[in-house]
Amino acid sequence: MMRALNIAASAKLPRLAILLATVAGLGLAGCDDHAGDPKRQIGANPVLPEIQQYLMPPMRVAKVVGWGEDETPAAPQGLQVHALATGLEHPRSLYVLPNGDVLVVESNGPKAPVNRPKDIITGWVQSFAGAKAKDANRITLLRDNGDGSPKLRTVFLDHLNSPFGVALVGHDLYVANTDAIVRYPYEDGQTSIAAAGTKLTDLPGGPIDHHWTKALLASPDGSKLYVGVGSNSNITENGIGAEYERAAIWEVDRASGAHRIYASGIRNPTGLQWEPETGKLWAIANERDEIGPDLVPDYLTSVRDGGFYGWPYSYYGQHLDPRVEPQRPDLVATAIAPDYALSSHVAPLGVAMYTGTDLPANYRSGAFVAEHGSWNRTPLNGYKVVFVPFSGGQPSGPAQDVVTGFLDADNHARGRPVGLAVDRTGGLLIADDVGNTVWRVSSVRPGSVSSIR
């Protein structure tokens, strides 16, 4: 900033030279980026640097190259990764039905409106990261008998509206579109649903719909549905009015469709899961951008009934965000710091609390987290699936890399992990919305190769 002003002040130079020098200066300012070691921001007490405000916010997207023939993500010794299904259209989340069938939600966000010149530029840059891929708006069913018998792949539900969350309660299958929860009748073993859905409740959708994914989780007794509703902006740049009942986790009564705000101040909550030991609700969240490469760490946290987690006014408790006016000191005073930081801009979008038995013993208590990967940080961060060990219902150690190789040696993206699920036999399923594949991670056993192509 000062550099550019100084150059501008010495206006004796020929105009063209001033222009060139300033543009170069702005470029440097944009790259003036000292990202720290992400490891310092993993766990309960992340190091939080000072806020940085940019002239030109850094944008660093990984160019998409896709997976080559026979290329797969990498996993540690003892684990193997296979493609369960390829050639999908932007698979975003996964759900495993009781009979073992896997639902793949193929979805993308609605078209973003252009409110500012910046939106044009951002949309253009993000198109390089595959974020504007074709939107199938459907759910595909995969059935893998695992023993060489015929495998099945059918269109389970079509003509949805940017769907994301799925939850089955008895014979009621709920799909969270971006603007409503819709209920469909489901019979065991059904491979496609033709019946028209019944709307349970509206959800905050367009016209802006900045964070469009609506994560869904049923309560253990089936009486309530929990819905992750992301904010309608990075940091209230669309006005606080656009955030009504957003950046929150809703509790929806399954019988009446009535809802209340279960928790708030969570910028983009997804990956809703019950922690198996304590039965508490956990979520991941994508935190705010454009105040530095190491702000604000995304997180994994337990979610308290009635809890407020800071967004937009503050982060990690009482760290104020100067971009938000008017402030709300009354709310900030109550802001809860999340339990476990995952480091900045990793974009966690899927969680699987592991309760299976297929994977080695060191993965049997904890959470797998899919990190979709950063688009505004150098060096890139995320682009992998990590495992956060739990003990006594709380994270008990640093996150370990489990599935990597989504970036190649040149930092180009072969794929990006999004939704996670654990299948009936205990394998970890990963939706890859850039590689358009569902990967299955399992323990190495002779002859356990499976794929549906």
């Binding site: 002239l55 010149p117 209230t236 740049e237 006016e325």
Partner: protein
């Protein structure tokens, strides 16, 4: 900026040669373009002040669109000016202080566009507001100096 150029004066002359395309109503077209861009830049100061007072993001959006439109017109003005220069048209001496002042306003507005592209409050307060104010001052001073010099050269020959 003080040329009292209005829309009614702006007749686009046919595409017969380079010189005539760069002219409008007998005046160089770059002056008209520059006048419009200056009006947009100054308009952004007004909308910035309204945002600062109301905190309604609509006004913040007006500001960034005004600055962007101003920069686009300024770019066209520079192109029209360059055509005049290369076509060998006489650029009288008093035009130079105006050109330098205007160039400074464009540079500051370019920085201002980046500041205004931040999200929410700090896109305007304090730096965006200060830059919009500074651009307005530069433009007004440029206009003033231009008038004085133009009169002096007319009187003094």
């Amino acid at each position: 900026m003080q040329q009292h150029t209005t829309i009614t004066e702006a007749r686009f002359v046919g595409n017969t040669d380079l010189r005539s395309t760069a002219k409008s109503g007998g005046r160089p077209i770059h002056r008209m373009l520059a006048a419009f861009s200056a009006a947009y830049f100054i308009g952004a100061l007004v909308t910035d002040v309204v945002y600062w007072q109301t905190l309604n993001v609509l006004w913040e959006r007006f500001s960034i669109w005004l600055i962007t439109a101003g920069l686009i017109l300024a770019g066209l003005a520079v192109v029209a000016y360059a055509i005049d220069l290369f076509a060998g048209r006489q650029i009288d001496r008093p035009a130079w202080p105006r050109a330098v002042g205007y160039a400074l306003a464009i540079l500051l507005s370019l920085i201002n566009a980046f500041v205004h592209s931040r999200d929410a409050y700090t896109a305007v307060v304090p730096m965006g507001l200060m830059l919009s104010g500074l651009v307005t001052v530069v433009l007004l001073l440029t206009a003033l100096i231009g008038t004085v010099l133009a009169n002096r050269s007319r009187v003094g020959g």
